[in-house]
Subunit: 513 residues, 2 copies
């Protein structure tokens, strides 16, 4: 068995089923290995940012790592922005980057980069394999490490891929890391604060925002009267009727500060002290202050789901949750020229049960979270790291992870343009993705920020850098093989969206604003 086959064999046996890739010459033995060892599905992205974003969407939905196979430093560089988003989402990913043979790399051929330094910016675990005998072990270690909610990178030189790897069974990983449970004393203290009569917020993040954690939080709320709030940009939040209605930390710092000012105590579960997305002059960088009693039930990485369940039990919380769960609601469908609010309402009204909403809607979606309270249950993925180009690729990964669910990709035009090549993979793999592109022809978020900073948006540079006119999303989408249509009224959006949701395969709707 070649080294490349040893790597693929170990990855498959550890449960890796998908390889999102844009390989090059130095990765060809790994491509051959995917053909030789059954069990890995190959999915091509026309740009590495597509591969990385797809692995992020896949990992958020499955909790398991996909493999991302990249061509040397430049391939990794192209994947880095979306790997940054994945890092912020604590998504498990197995990155495999090829490298020149050691006897060749020393001559510094053109593609040579400092791959270790590059991947150090996004990886929690990394290793360059140095001899064939360590390929299997490194692969299982990488996968095991990724399950802590991080990116693992294996750098594998070309010669090690085609050299024979010694026979042997797949070793067990050097370490098995399980999240330590939260100590009893911490649970007791949280229970004391929540029962203490002060106005208290239970701030939820990470896995606390998935169904099991949310239901435990609902029990805590029903018993203690605390409020629930989710982190600003959750990797994944389960929402809709029958789940507690959890609003998120507002993006605008003034609104966030006001939201937190209502509370005397804040119990943090699965996230961190809330920080402003950007620092502004004359505004504090964090949204809490010395008047708040802050208590951390579970940091990032702890088993927050179990902690919330144990806490609910400790509080003797009831299981009658009727009053704290969102009730199904009906919508009045809007009419007339599209606006961001009408778009949000149409989406919320029509999205089917069990949809996965991949949300990189930026300014157009500002109201969506509020508007969509109480819709049919669905899963909501957001832009965790602020690096644009997350949405279209993540929709690919979510659709591959959950082929029986409808994926809705709610996209700002400016962000979508970063990784529009993902549309081709949507077509190639015939994925059930409905893309809604909000086409306002501007980086509207920057115009808002210019206004905040008191900078005239009409200046030649300010306007040049914030306006993106004359983009035709129907042509771009069709150019990649995804059928598309353009709408500018609510009525047309309703008709096209309803139709698209019934179709198999991808479809894009350009929403002209």
């Amino acid at each position: 068995m070649k080294g490349s086959e040893a790597l693929i064999d170990a990855a498959i046996k550890e449960g890796v089923e998908i390889c999102f890739a844009n390989p090059g010459t130095t990765e060809m033995p790994l491509v051959e290995a995917i053909d030789m060892v059954p069990g890995m599905r190959p999915v091509l992205g026309l740009f590495e940012g597509v591969c990385a974003g797809a692995a992020d969407g896949y990992g958020r939905m499955t909790g398991r790592p996909a493999m991302v196979l990249l061509h040397l430093g430049p391939g990794l560089a192209d994947a880095t922005a979306n790997l940054h988003n994945a890092r912020r989402a604590h998504t498990p990913i197995l990155v495999v980057a090829g490298e020149h043979s050691s006897w060749h790399r020393k001559y510094d051929p053109p593609l040579t980069m400092d791959i270790q330094a590059l991947t150090g910016t996004i990886s929690g675990w990394q290793k360059t394999v140095n001899f064939p005998g360590e390929i299997r072990g490194s692969t299982v270690d990488a996968i095991s490490a990724s399950l802590q909610g991080q990116i693992s990178t294996i750098i594998i030189p070309f010669d090690l891929q085609y050299d024979e790897a010694p026979e042997g069974k797949i070793p067990s990983p050097l370490y098995t890391c399980t999240a330590n449970p939260v100590e009893e004393s911490v649970i007791s203290e949280a229970a004391r604060i929540l029962s203490g009569g002060k106005k208290t917020l239970l701030l939820l993040g990470g896995k606390a925002l998935q169904k099991e954690g949310l239901m435990a939080a609902a029990r805590i709320k029903a018993k203690t009267g605390c409020d629930l709030m989710g982190e600003m940009f959750p990797a994944r939040i389960d929402r809709g009727a029958g789940l507690p209605d959890v609003q998120r930390v507002p993006y605008m710092p003034e609104m966030a500060l006001e939201a937190f000012s209502k509370y005397q105590s804040i119990v943090i579960a699965g996230t961190r002290i809330p920080v402003a997305f950007f620092g502004y002059k004359n505004l504090p960088p964090v949204f809490v202050n010395e008047t708040h009693e802050i208590f951390t039930l579970a940091e990032d990485g702890r088993d927050v789901t179990m902690a919330l369940g144990t806490l609910a039990d400790a509080l003797g919380a009831s299981t009658s949750l009727e009053e704290v769960l969102a009730q199904p609601r009906t919508f009045t469908l809007p009419v007339g020229k599209l606006t961001p609010d009408k778009i949000c309402t149409v989406l919320a009204a029509l999205q089917p049960e069990n949809a996965i909403l991949v949300d990189e809607s930026i300014t157009t979606g500002v109201m969506y979270h509020t508007v969509s309270s109480g819709v049919k249950p669905f899963t909501h993925l957001t832009l965790t790291g602020g690096a644009l180009g997350f949405g279209l690729p993540a929709a690919v990964g979510a659709a591959i992870a959950c082929p029986e669910r409808r994926v809705i990709s709610f996209q700002a035009d400016g962000a979508a343009l970063y990784t529009l090549q993902a549309l081709w993979t949507q077509a190639r793999e015939n994925l059930n993705i409905t893309t809604l592109v909000a086409s306002n022809g501007r980086y509207d978020i920057l115009r808002y920020e210019l206004m905040r900073l008191g900078i005239p948006a009409a200046g030649p540079a300010a306007s040049r850098f914030t306006e993106l006119p004359d983009i035709d999303w129907v042509r771009l989408s069709e150019g990649f093989g995804v059928p598309a249509v353009s709408v500018s009224t609510a009525e047309a959006l309703i008709k096209e969206f309803e139709w698209a949701l019934k179709e198999r395969g991808p479809r894009l709707i350009e929403m002209k604003l």
Copy 2:
């Protein structure tokens, strides 16, 4: 004057005239400064790889740095692949990356990355400015350092951009670095080898491949009978009738080894010992061996133009060069279904005098360099670092650098898809760029490499990762506002290409293979 204005003011006074950017919130004061301080042209790229590639094309044509303004770590990450190409081309570039205010960064908000580590992979010079008083000096130092043929990066925190910078004149840079001339003894030794009667190759790279260096090389050839060869992937090579016909080091190692096997002595001018692009089992990583007498006249970074001139003088080389310069030639225009060779011939036959050819044609262009010997004088830019997505953006930069010259962008489809957003900037800035996309629907280079490695290209993964069917370049181009047409015969290509060359503004021709 704010810190942001101090930076822009210093850059303009040091000769920086263009800012290719995709800025974000943390760079808005710099955008304002571009509006406040006259003299900097703002050019938006819809993806940072476009900005970086444009700065590479601009710098190769002008020898001066453009500014590339990027949004924090993710913006820099998206620019990294094309900055890698620029690094390999020794292109001067001034990268300016925003950063969170120091009092905010410590809270690790979502966009935070290790920007220093990231830029360390592509920068020759970098600095994070720490107080307003050092902004001007850091900017002039960065520009001065870039002129050594490298990327300089300034990381500037948000608060330093809007804080007042102390008044003061623009300081001179701390160091002025000039390339040291080649020592006389080295010139004499090179002259001795070239006159020694052995079969000798003068291997040219870097600035030696521009007109002045080439004409000196021609004099040396006329006098000594040596052969001339250019490096495998030159940043810029001036070519055509009236210049010496310099073929390049072949990409295929067997061909390169054969080419070098003809020589007993090799004199290197402005490049390095030639290395294989990829290392292959059973083939040497470098193309020369112990039978070659290797002598370096001038390394990368030395003033190779002057060295060649001095060497020509030392040899008493004549100025009658008729026999060593390429003669104008005529072409028989091909007919029938397009093939790579016909495409190369049509291009060579019709390209106008003084064109700039940005060449990322990969397999389709294999024959172009040979076919185009003796065409009307032009400048040829190639993919120096192997990171795909160079061509369309570099065409933007070349067209902005040389508005009076016709830019022809000769593109492989797979590579063009990496940074196709550049087409939008071509339309927005109404640049005279004619793009020829060779649309074969495959990563043909990988199929070649699979064959070399004896790996079946028909395997599910091997075919999945090398085939990219169903891409419609006319729609993609029109989606970005660039008029486009598709051709599949030589006759149609000739007609459309002739017409496009007469038009102002950008136009794309999809060449179906």
